[in-house]
């Protein structure tokens, strides 16, 4: 038999050879390979779903082998489908585990935030309580101070035999505290006036009137002069003690305004006096 080489047969053989060297693929297998590549490059998937990815790799290998062996598209797709679903499952598992890790971390964070909130509330309540206590203490101290000051003032006024008048608390510096017919205060007189000065230092809201008076003996001009000088010498003691000049108003009345008739020596001595009146200028601005 003569061997005839048919060109058509050669072509067919060539085609078959080409077919055997180029593996078959399907669009589903291509898609599955792409999915696998994406998952393989996702660090969450490789760390959280490595077992599922191993299973997916086995399934994909089977599909690839089927393609290399020129199995039917139907068979390749059947295997590729299983691999594709496994890759998707691996991806979902990694998402789940990632979210669970977030939950675990967030729960801790939320507890910390809640703890911070409670600590903050407790601190705030504490601070408020302390503030309230401090305010109460201050108020109590102030009350005590005020009471003590009132008591001290009362004692001081009592000591000076002060009495209440329309103008204010009246303290009388008697003639016996002055040198006879002189404006100069005796040592006991200075001490009395110094007590008044201490009252004024303790009670800065109080001002003083210092009014000098005499009896009717001697000339009116002389009496006026000595009453002014006696008022001024009382004022000088107050100023020496640190009372500012603008809190003091001095006036000499001479023989006007006697407290008793000038008929007896005893009465005349009562008339020779300096009256110190403590007043609060904010409450009583009327000057006689």
């Amino acid at each position: 038999m003569k061997l005839v080489v048919n060109p058509a047969l050669l072509l067919l053989a060539g085609l078959l050879a080409a077919c055997s060297s180029a593996p078959t693929s399907t669009s589903l297998l291509d898609q599955t390979r792409s999915d696998y590549y994406t998952a393989q490059h996702n660090p969450h998937v490789t760390s959280y779903a490595s077992a599922e990815m191993d299973q997916a790799a086995v399934l994909l290998d089977k599909a690839n082998s089927a393609a290399n062996d020129h199995e039917s598209a139907e068979k390749i797709d059947k295997l590729a489908y299983l691999a594709k679903q496994k890759i998707a499952t691996a991806t979902e598992i990694s998402k789940q585990k990632t979210a669970e890790a977030v939950v675990a971390h967030s729960a801790q964070e939320r507890n910390q935030v809640r703890l911070n909130e409670r600590t903050n509330e407790a601190n705030l309540a504490n601070a408020n309580a302390q503030q309230a206590n401090a305010a109460t203490k201050i108020a109590q101290d102030q009350t005590q101070q005020a009471q003590a000051q009132t008591a001290r003032l009362q004692a001081q006024l009592n000591e000076l035999s002060a009495r209440q008048t329309d103008r204010g608390m009246l303290i009388t510096i008697n003639d016996v505290l002055f040198n006879t017919d002189k404006a100069q205060l005796k040592a006991e007189g200075v001490m009395s006036v110094q007590k008044v000065a201490r009252i004024l230092l303790d009670n800065p809201q109080q001002n003083v009137y210092i009014d000098g008076f005499t009896d009717s003996t001697g000339s009116a001009a002389h009496n006026l002069e000595i009453s002014e000088r006696r008022a001024n010498s009382v004022s000088a003691v107050l100023i020496d003690m640190g009372i500012t000049r603008n809190r003091i108003t001095t006036h000499g009345y001479g023989e006007d305004q006697p407290v008793a008739d000038n008929a007896t020596a005893q009465n005349r001595q009562l008339n020779r006096r300096v009256e110190i009146t403590l007043y609060n200028p904010a409450k009583n601005t009327v000057h006689q």
Partner: protein, 125 residues
Amino acid sequence: MNRQTLNITLSGFALCMLIAGCDSMKTPATANVAVTKNAVDNASDAGGAEFAPSEMKSARDKLALANKAMSNNDYKLANDLATQAQADAKLAQSKASSEKAQAAANALNTDIRVLQEELSRKNNP
């Protein structure tokens, strides 16, 4: 033994082999369908119908077809369909679980943000 007798004998043998081969698929296919039914039920319990409706439907449809193939004694097809349905059911279940976990994470993060806002309002009234 003549040639014809041999042919008949061989044909009978081949037929026997074929039937035996088909029957040999019956037990694994039955088991696979049962496992798949279980996987579909698990996915359904996990909320697969809500979170992964298309995978869930695919799994149920293929399971129904696998059962139909079983009753037609087509064990090969039943096995293939069961395997696919199982893959679908597992995907549906993992989708449902991941959606739920992500929802929980989001809720928690929202919770934290609200708390922090509240805290910063209290600190800076």
